[in-house]
């Protein structure tokens, strides 16, 4: 872990911040622009309901420590959310300044300003209760959902243990989110706060099979499932098994953990979601000669956020619309080209290949990014936990599953949204679990 904390300088340089931090005076000017709305729409739009005007006004008055505590009180991963949230569709998208024909308040960057200060001062998470509660809770997965649930429960005095099959905690925050948004070191730094509360981590432990679940049930009073999504979908085309085909998650994980430090040649990314865009941008920043995104449909159909798409254009990523990947060709040296087919969209919206439209593109690396599958291996083994379309069914307000001993949140419940959704889920579950155990206690 130590060597990871020293990222290679040339990588750090290439992965400069997407949204650079505020200078102190700029932060004050920006925070004074905030109107301090009543029942602020930005707060309602944030899944964790951070009291945005409250913390922004504290930045304006120089009360930075309290600003950060206010953020953390609602969202224990306030530092990473400040950087990774799609603020354009969340808080900033709801800011009343839009109606004023003005730029929305830069809430994300202000949140980062407060959190950076907090970390620089060595701030620690406050405990909400002095009580030491004997009940034990297990969290499967060390991603944002579990971290939020664990922090909430631990702050209220419960005994919490987080299990993750990986060697570092943080889930996609650590392994999946683009470096120019959230460096891996910053993800880990934030988790230190939760460790410091006394949450136990058992890393490199995969919860797998009925036995290990039964053991968990025996040892713990409540189990929270925050396992995220499973492996990425495969392309299912000829040539896919070549070692020059790396799925987007693996690719991102490799450069974030320092295994990949540069890319040469031409890169083809398949798919046009946010993950595809992250992988394409990263390939570009790692030195690829060209990066092209292949997508079967058109610009109007992509699932990436608008601002992510525009960011990719800015990074120099090329988009090939109405193009389907058919096969991957390789020689002894590696991948040489990909074979593509043009498609068109029928009046009824269905996709149709165009005959005899095959063409070849030179390529050295193929990165499929066509979505993650649900984590069925684990989820189907959780006793009496009801699933629907591969997602855990929960009561939305509490996160409780059909088995009252199991709670769940994050990607495994919502099918893959954002970090802040996972945090909100985890927190709601944490509060509900605490309440449940309290009732049992009396």
């Amino acid at each position: 872990m130590q060597e990871l904390l020293q990222q290679k300088p040339e990588i750090a340089e290439r992965f400069g911040d997407l949204h650079p931090p505020f200078a102190a005076q700029a932060a004050v000017v920006e925070s004074n622009r905030c109107l301090n709305c009543f029942d602020a729409p930005c707060t309602s739009a944030c899944p964790t309901h951070i009291d945005v005007p409250k913390f922004i006004k504290k930045i304006a008055s120089g009360n930075l420590h309290s600003a950060a505590l206010g953020i953390l009180d609602a969202n224990v991963l306030g530092a990473s959310c400040a950087r990774v949230c799609p603020v354009e569709v969340l808080c900033e998208g709801a800011c009343v300044m839009h109606g004023f024909n003005e730029q929305p308040i830069e809430i994300g960057r202000l949140q980062r300003f407060a959190m950076d200060h907090f970390h620089a001062q060595g701030g620690r998470l406050p405990r909400k209760s002095d009580e030491k509660r004997p009940e034990k809770i297990a969290c499967i997965g060390a991603g944002p959902a579990s971290l939020a649930a664990a922090a909430e429960l631990r702050q209220q005095g419960f005994q919490v243990t987080i299990f993750d099959k990986r060697s570092l905690p943080g889930g996609l925050n650590t392994y999946g989110i683009a470096e120019y948004k959230l460096p891996l070191t910053d993800s880990l730094r934030e988790i230190e706060l939760i460790k410091d509360l006394g949450v136990q981590f058992r890393l490199g432990v995969e919860i797998c099979g009925e036995n290990s679940l039964a053991e968990l049930e025996a040892e713990f009073d409540v189990i929270f499932i925050g396992a995220g999504l499973g492996a990425m979908h495969r392309l299912a085309i000829p040539g896919e098994s070549h070692s020059g085909v790396i799925d987007a998650l693996q690719f991102i994980e490799d450069y974030k953990t320092g295994k990949t430090t540069q890319i040469a040649g031409d890169v083809i990314v398949v798919g046009a979601g946010n993950t595809a865009i992250d992988a394409a941008n990263a390939a570009k920043r790692l030195g690829a000669r060209s990066v092209s995104i292949l997508y079967r449909r058109t610009r109007e159909h992509i699932s990436a956020f608008d601002f992510e798409y525009r960011q990719a254009l800015q990074e120099g990523v090329r988009f090939l619309w109405l193009t389907q990947l058919m096969a991957i060709h390789s020689s002894a040296i590696g991948i040489t080209s990909v074979e593509c087919l043009c498609t068109e969209i029928d009046s009824d919206g269905s996709l149709k290949p165009i005959d005899d439209s095959t063409f070849h593109l030179e390529c050295n690396l193929v990165i499929p990014a066509i979505g993650q599958s649900p984590l069925l291996e684990l989820l189907t083994q959780c006793r009496d936990v009801q699933l629907e379309q591969g997602r855990v069914v929960v009561d939305r307000a509490t996160g409780q599953t059909s088995n009252p001993k199991y709670f769940a949140g994050g990607d495994c419940v919502n099918g893959g949204r954002e970090v802040v959704d996972a945090v909100a889920d985890g927190k709601r579950a944490g509060i509900a679990i605490a309440r449940l155990l309290e009732v049992a206690y009396v």
Partner: protein
């Protein structure tokens, strides 16, 4: 659209002092030397009051501090500077030189000297010999000089002010302006005294006693002079309302009224126009120039010209004092006039500031129940702010994802009607608070409600009470 094709005439004759426009530099650092004043005249200033001359002094270091507000600097400015720290002879020699080179601009000597008839006669003679177009008596400096029996030590005592003005008038051949200190209970007292002493004109205001701030790290009040501080003179945009009030008070008092040069927080042509509308014959500027330099006069001149064109004023005299009759005493206001707030739904951005202001700072008559629940009725029927907030805090929100939520996720944000507050006119007292806090121009307007009662002032009403009618 301008009514006149010719440019309006900005020149003024202030108590006999001619100047191409009403914009003068106040006696202060921007008028410290001849070289500075000549550059100012080149930039367009119509006149300058020389940095107060008198016996040479030593200044402290540092000597300024300021109030910053919402990221803007120097909303209020404070100084503990004294009068000129240059020898009188040097100042007068330079003054003569400036007058020779710039005969058209008004050049006024600001004076302060120990309180003897002979000393004043002397200094008046010297300033006029050097060519000053007028004299300004500094009875206002609140620090350093007052300890020596000068400045505000004179300006705060009507008898002294009258006496010294009279001494000066015995000798002076040019107009004598008395500059008033605001550090007094009723500014009219000294203004009347100055008039009795024979002053030709007044200037108001000088700086206001102040302590601007205390450094919360060092606990040191500002400015810091080797670990100690002292009260300073406040100026800049923050003092304008006080200065306007004092100008109005003097100009509405027959015993005090004289030509007045308005000073205090003037930074733009708008500020200047306001001072002139309350009767000022010229205006003086200090802090704004210290902050931004002589160049600000350019906008002051053509801004005022454009406004005068629009309004059809050809000269400064055309509008000088026009607002004075509109200021009366409270007892003369019509008690039967009523306005209520009206929110323009199309302009409202849903910030809820009016709602908070009305509930916490006014009369609880703005509600956020536009789309559901009881519409009119006493406040008890409406949700209170805490309840409104609690409801939205317990709502569940998720990130809209195009893949999962379809087109819905792409919709832009517009103010939902439910966020547009509504004024209950039967409860609105027409205090104006909401329209002041609303960040959107002309979104909340105050609309007149006919009471069908004849106009009645408090004075009339209390007189009626005395005669036994109900009140």
């Amino acid at each position: 659209m301008s009514k006149y094709s010719v440019k309006p005439n900005l020149s003024v004759n202030f108590a006999g002092i001619e100047s191409p426009n009403p914009f003068w530099l106040a006696s202060a650092p921007p008028t410290n030397t001849g070289e500075q004043i000549m550059r100012a005249f080149d930039a367009g200033w119509g006149g300058a009051v020389w940095k107060t001359m008198g016996a040479q002094v030593t200044n402290t270091s540092s000597r300024y501090s300021s109030i910053n507000w919402n990221g803007r600097r120097m909303m209020g400015f404070s100084n503990i500077e004294l009068i000129s720290d240059r020898p009188l002879e040097v100042n007068l020699r330079e003054l003569a030189e400036v007058k020779k080179r710039y005969p058209k601009q008004a050049l006024i000597a600001s004076l302060m000297i120990e309180s003897t008839r002979e000393a004043w006669h002397n200094v008046v003679q010297q300033a006029e010999d050097a060519g000053a177009d007028g004299l300004e008596l500094n009875f206002g400096c609140p620090h350093g000089m007052s300890e020596r029996g000068m400045g505000s030590a004179v300006g705060q005592v009507p008898e002294y002010a009258e006496m010294i003005t009279a001494w000066v008038k015995e000798k002076a051949r040019t107009p004598v302006i008395v500059k008033l200190t605001p550090n007094i209970t009723d500014i009219r007292e000294v203004a009347r005294a100055a008039k009795r002493g024979g002053a030709d004109a007044l200037a108001a205001i000088n700086t206001i006693n102040s302590i601007t701030s205390i450094d919360l790290d060092t606990l040191m009040p500002q400015p810091n002079v080797d670990g100690r501080s002292s009260h300073g003179g406040y100026s800049g945009p923050a003092v304008k309302p006080i200065a306007l009030n004092m100008v109005q008070q003097v100009m509405s008092d027959p015993e005090a009224m004289l030509p007045i040069s308005g000073i205090g927080g003037i930074a733009t042509w708008r500020d200047a126009a306001e001072f002139i509308l309350l009767g000022s014959g010229s205006v003086q500027v200090c802090t704004a120039v210290m902050q931004q330099g002589y160049r600000i006069v350019e906008d002051m001149i053509d801004g005022l010209e454009n406004w005068m064109c629009e309004k059809g004023f050809q000269s400064i005299e055309d509008f000088r004092g026009l607002s004075l009759p509109k200021v009366t005493e409270w007892k003369d206001l019509n008690l039967n006039y009523k306005v209520v707030a009206h929110i323009d739904e199309a302009k409202c951005i849903g910030c809820g500031l009016c709602y908070t202001a009305c509930w916490d700072g006014a009369h609880q008559c703005i509600h956020v129940d536009r789309v559901s629940g009881q519409i009119d009725g006493p406040i008890e029927l409406h949700a209170k702010p805490v309840e409104v907030e609690a409801a939205s805090r317990s709502s569940i929100t998720v990130t809209p994802i195009p893949k999962l939520d379809g087109e819905k996720a792409r919709q832009g944000y517009t103010t939902p009607l439910a966020r547009v507050p509504r004024v209950d006119e039967t409860e609105c007292v027409g205090c104006n608070l909401c329209s002041l806090v609303c960040p959107v121009d002309a979104c909340i307007t105050m609309v007149e409600v006919k009471t069908h009662l004849p106009a009645e002032t408090w004075e009339e009403r209390s007189a009626a009470c005395l005669t036994g009618e109900s009140c």
